[in-house]
Amino acid sequence: MIWSKYSAPQVFYPLAGRLIPWFAAVAVLLMIVGLYMGFFVAPTDFQQGESYRIIFVHVPAAWMSMFLYVVMAIWAGVGMGLNARLSFMMAQAIAPTGAMFTFLALLTGAMWGKPTWGAWWVWDARLTSELILLFQYAGVMLLRTSIDDARRADRSSAVFALVGVVNVPIIYYSVQWWNTLHQGASVSMATGSKMAATMLMAMLIMTIAFWLYSIAVILARVRCVMVERESLPTWDEKPAAMSEAVEAR
């Protein structure tokens, strides 16, 4: 398998275009299944009542916020190492979606915190480190828009993204390292799950759905970025359509 073949814009651009509808369709389908399971199959939590159902968006959003940051940093690192424009463009395309999920994790967390802890916000290690993650995404995006030269913007935001990756394990392990108000992990690779099977299933289905959604929107965004930055033809456009347009002029 020659992966470098797919990194050519002429190949990647139409390939991404063909993949988007599939990722989007499966994401919507899984969201419907996940919401059905989350609201109609999963039982009421014996401690938290119905408010726990917020986890069906909160946990997938929080996982995606961290996961997308790592993926963004990896693309930024690959871009630095190989001086590959497409890698930087991938990093650029991931940031807004990652920021959105970070915002949603914080918002839905507040929605859960108010009835459960009696406070929208506490300066607990988990919440604070997640808020810092939001600022990091903002920093990556602002650094890019504040530098006119695209190559310098790529490198500066890549360095910023790579340095900030240390925060991700801090967020993840914060509930173990510090005595946080935020509860510990209910799903752990070491000890398995402490949740009812249907709750866990609904949460995992929603997570996969968010994952596929992210892939779809990131591919769509990287295609926009490619058109905007490369000022090259849109590779999937029929050449005939272009020449017709030229003739019509």
Binding site: F40, E50, P96, T108, W112, P115, V217, V227, S231
Partner: protein
């Protein structure tokens, strides 16, 4: 199924405000992102088309 009626479902055991705010906010963010991307794509392609067709636009203006 734990819901006796539709109103019971929407009340979410008294947590309706928090639960529905969370889900609606998430849905709105996703819909907004998709729409914003769609508009960005339309704009990018329009600009591109203009650049391809009107290489002389800048000199003409």
């Amino acid at each position: 199924m734990q819901w006796g009626s539709a109103s019971e479902f929407f009340a979410m055991g008294g947590y309706g405000l928090y639960v529905w705010t969370s889900f609606i906010a998430t849905a709105l963010c996703m819909i907004w992102e998709v729409l914003a991307l769609w508009r960005r794509r339309v704009a990018a392609r329009a600009e591109q088309r203009a650049a391809l067709l009107g290489g002389t636009d800048e000199t003409a203006a």
